[in-house]
Symmetry: C2
Subunit: 289 residues, 2 copies
């Protein structure tokens, strides 16, 4: 099974369990709507790529870690799109969840997806029970307080925003969790893997900022210039378009260089180079994640 | 340390870690606001009472299980109070979180509390790592889909509501998780403990319905007749006030009878009899949970 199939299969199994027989039908429909069809699945692909580079000794747990990270990403998209945040009409090329199903179901779907992420980790930990607590630690740190996605989003409610902290929490944290969890799930020493995720997360954020300025909204799957409309910090505003492009390239180079010595390091370098192509300013054809 | 101190100390430790140094100050404040001061802490007290009845062999893990259940309860209150659900002005005798801090922080606080519940379990699992996966399973089942709190709330978005399923998911599930998790955390066989939680959860729901009709709003900590205002199913409407009182008594009797044979069974019966007094129709002096 290739990486995409592993990710989709694990997500399908998780979502269909959560939306099972006794589930209110609309909530079950919303859970599917929020997760399928996905974007580029950048984070779970990265997580599995790291697990593979580390030997992929416990593939089911690696699949669960990758899926839990994508479920948390989907939850954050559903809640970010709510009227009290971005009030986005469109997500991944279709109406945002609250536009399609209403605000109550959008709140509940996000909540249920957060729970499902942890449930999925717990369910697959039978393959290596001693790795569950560290995985829970890494994943929860990436999404909760004091410096996960919730914290990143909450900076927008403060009178002044520390830019680096904001981006690190809102985007970088889940990328860092993706690489660390991939290594952990495979039974490797995880500490050396954080920088790779951080660099790619920051690169992804810069690429997103560039996209927000230049890309075709139909390709993007959402309206452009959302950051300016929502008065959010943006790398292009800060560095100019050319400066942002240079920053993006430097981050991708640092990412590649940061990869720890391991069995599959060379292959991982190739995978990252290929997968980051759509990030780059000249080719915004496959950007939505 | 008595049960209340154990609960408050574990909650304080969890909330202060989540709201630590790098946390946006308002989110840190909101996390505290949502959890302290608590209501009667019915669910974590129940969970710890069961752990004690089972010998309380791993008290730190029992504390974590109890705290995780209360954190999830607090998260559900914050999200339930949002304008798209109850639009409640008051909770636990003070302004609801979104009234005090705005809707974006209320959504994020609920999300961060859900994450914190699982993080807390993971952090304390070092005391008995093999119990973490079953604890995650029990707790996530109680709050996510297909039949946890999110599912219970989502029934309100359906054209017709199966009453028993609705109450079981919205209230009963977390009580059942409280008893099962208490047993699990103490290393006891958990299956016999579910009925106790289910009965007490149902009793609590009926008591809440009675309160909603007759109690003084100042004592209640929230406005009365909320169910009627929100067109929600209610035991008093269904059974009349006297019928609801009888149903409550029967559920409490069944709860006491369901307690499995264990070291501390007799003491647990006494604890439950004492703690359920404020549930009863004549004494609504300490009801808010």
């Amino acid at each position: 099974m290739d990486v995409s199939q592993r990710i989709e299969k694990t997500l399908e199994s998780a979502v269909s369990k959560a939306g099972g027989t006794s589930c209110p039908p609309k909530l079950a429909e919303c859970l599917k709507y929020a997760v399928f069809p996905g974007g580029a699945r950048v984070r779970p692909r990265l997580s599995l790529a790291v697990a593979q580079a580390c030997g992929d000794g416990t593939p089911k747990l690696a699949d669960a870690a990758a899926a839990s990270i994508e479920l948390l990403h989907c939850a954050s998209l559903v809640h970010d799109d709510l009227p009290c945040f971005d009030d986005a009409d469109v997500r991944r090329g279709k109406p945002s969840l609250h536009k399609a199903f209403g605000e109550p179901l959008a709140v509940l779907t996000g909540d249920a997806l957060i729970v499902l992420a942890f449930e999925t980790l717990g369910r697959h930990a039978v393959h290596a029970p001693d790795r569950l607590a560290p995985l829970i630690g890494v994943v929860s740190q990436a999404v909760g307080g004091p410096s996960g996605i919730c914290a990143g989003q909450a900076w927008e409610c403060e009178p002044s925003v520390p830019l680096d902290e904001y981006h690190r929490a809102k985007t970088g944290s889940l990328f860092a969790a993706a690489t660390v969890a991939g290594a952990l799930a495979a039974g490797a020493e995880p500490s050396g893997w954080r920088r790779l995720g951080e660099c790619l997360g920051e690169a992804f954020q810069v690429a997103d900022d560039i996209c927000d300025h230049v890309a075709d909204p139909d390709v993007l799957g959402k309206p452009r210039n959302q950051d300016i409309a929502n008065d959010r910090p943006n790398a292009v505003q800060r560095l100019g378009l050319e400066g942002a492009g240079q920053s993006l390239q430097a981050l991708l180079d640092e990412a590649i260089e940061s990869i720890p010595d391991c069995e599959g390091a060379q292959q991982l370098r190739t995978v990252i180079a290929i997968q980051s192509k759509p990030f780059m300013p000249k080719g915004f054809t496959r950007h939505a994640a």
